[in-house]
Symmetry: C2
Subunit: 360 residues, 2 copies
């Protein structure tokens, strides 16, 4: 079996034990005589899968009892609309713009009311995260919106914003389950699965129960109402069953390695190794200010686009895939999510050192 | 390997060769060194998967060049909103109500304008399909909506309605790719994959290009605009990559067995065998008028609920799973989609005969 080190920003690497188990059970899940893909979502055998997945996620993140966990479709992009459609009661919301995705969410929210950018780091191409201590919050804003980890730029909002009592909503897609998170600080957290959690096609929403109301933007589709999903335990209609199953296997894998504290240590070790090399390299240069650097998406570049391209090409040939930066930004990016082993980062740094020696 | 005959209405059986191929390639898709679940949707290797899937579907259904094929999320339920949000320009639309799903679509459409039920078979619990020849069509209706096959009731609209020149929109979820379909008769066809096509989590939309406009209901989320999906070849955001891959394998399987003409013959043979038995049974009784019976979802019952339950239980123990009717209707249902082999139906009928002999 041939496996490469895959540095894709998402969909991304999954733990090998998860893939092996899915492979083993592909035609006959635990004696049920069928694939998980073939199961009625209303069957007992599938019910156990989704109930266990939710329970395991609850355990991993210590989700308080007054929060619901939802499995929905449409990715982060659909959340960009669902959040204001459901939560913008006063038709006002504040957005912290720390990169491409928070900017997209901000733009989408304009359709549903007055979205205000209360902080932004666009002046320096999102190479840092704006200060979130003394925010100029709109008095009757319904919520403050943030993106915890900007996948494209490679920055992380390490400090939870002081929202002066306002509801906090976070797109945590690309750092979800990479370390512990105090859910109680948020009103709503969402995460597209295709980074740390599972295959594309399922999005996890953690929402405080008091936010589940019938008061939504006029014309909000039934399927875009959080309350509908919550009341039906993510089964108002057929959920993305197989994607949820894989997420469940990932949750079990995370529990088996010791949970999110342990995962955090491993992620710090991996990212530390790569950043340490970048900080000393004479060819490669990190793009983000040290204090705001992401443990998940490491962005960097060489002195020229041509050299970047050469690196991507030679790296791919050597078994390091998807190191090209996002098309909107250029440069290079190594996404080192939970499932990327330490050995993968060490091997990448070795390869970068060789490349540096040959090309400096 | 233990496999049962799975009569689930969806998610439903998949062809064994498809599952075997997915199993084989789970950790290393054709030498790429990664699972399809782990691939960047912007990578060359994944691009080939989605492009081939679309091309194969186009071939199977003879999709005319002026129609776009989209892979979207949210299932039929999301389409119930997307259709009026995108197509109800005059805020009027006509709905043919032939069962649970067309009724749901009709109800959702009320949010976006004046939806009129121009025909219904609710008087006899949808045990037949209303006549669609001389419909009382609203003069300035934007479209006429139909559900080609009502999964819960087990009826099929065998005749394409005469819409007097109006746009025709069809929910074809549960008979999609079970036989040839003249796409040119429709403005838009959608189908949740989890019946005949693949796993839950992807919905196929076939839409005539002239319907792709910017004029949508106010507040329509970006991801719910057909034009956005079409312009971006279903890649405006991360699509449900793995589900699309499995659909692609199913398309190749359909082509390999001779396409939809051949599939139709096999489906007629399967359903014919089961209906023939039902028509002669003294214990079991089909629920739908002969002329409107579905080849996909065969609904029937015994003289009592207790007997129905007994049958479901004993059938499950004998390796025939998911024969319970939909919770909203009761009774029994055998869904015999494309992937259900003829042998499965023969074995079921044998079992039913034994059950009949013992319980009459």
């Amino acid at each position: 079996m041939h496996r490469v080190f895959n540095f894709s920003a998402g969909p991304a690497m999954l733990p090998v034990p998860v893939l092996l188990e899915a492979q083993k059970d592909m035609l006959d899940y635990k004696g049920s005589g069928m694939s998980v893909m073939e199961m009625s979502h209303r069957s007992k055998v599938y019910d156990q899968i989704i109930v266990e997945a939710e329970a395991d996620l609850r355990k991993l993140l210590n989700v308080p009892a007054n929060y619901k966990i939802l499995f929905v479709q449409g990715g982060g992009t659909q959340q960009f609309a669902m959040v204001p459609m459901n939560l913008m009661k006063n038709k006002k919301a504040d957005y912290i713009i720390s990169g491409h995705w928070s900017k997209k969410a901000f733009e989408e929210a304009q359709m549903y009311g007055q979205a205000t950018a209360i902080a932004t780091s666009s002046d320096k191409k999102f190479t840092y995260v704006p200060a979130v201590k003394h925010l100029n919050i709109t008095p009757d804003a319904d919520y403050v919106y943030m993106c915890q980890n900007e996948t494209i730029h490679g920055n992380t909002m390490w400090e939870i914003p002081d929202t002066q009592g306002k509801l906090l909503v976070s797109d945590s897609s690309s750092c979800f389950l990479s370390e512990p998170l105090d859910v109680s600080r948020f009103g709503l957290i969402f995460a597209g699965a295709q980074k740390n959690v599972g295959p594309a096609g399922v999005t996890i929403v953690i929402i405080r129960e008091d936010l589940l109301t019938d008061e939504v933007f006029p014309g909000t589709p039934t399927l875009m109402r959080y309350k509908i999903h919550a009341e039906n335990n993510s089964m108002y209609n057929t959920p993305p069953c197989y994607a949820i199953y894989i997420c469940g296997l990932v949750f079990k894998w995370l529990l088996s390695i010791g949970g999110l504290e342990e995962m955090k240590k491993m992620n710090e070790k991996k990212a530390g190794y790569l950043y340490d090399y970048l900080d000393h390299s004479r060819l490669f240069k990190g793009l983000v200010e040290k204090k705001d650097r992401s443990l998940m998406n490491v962005t960097f570049k060489t002195p020229s686009e041509e050299m970047d391209d050469k690196f991507v090409k030679e790296a791919k040939a050597a078994g390091f895939d998807n190191l090209k930066g996002h098309r909107s930004l250029g440069g290079l990016r190594a996404s080192i999510y939970n499932a990327m082993p330490y050995e993968g980062v060490v091997a990448l740094v070795d390869f970068m050192k060789q490349f540096e020696a040959k090309n400096l």
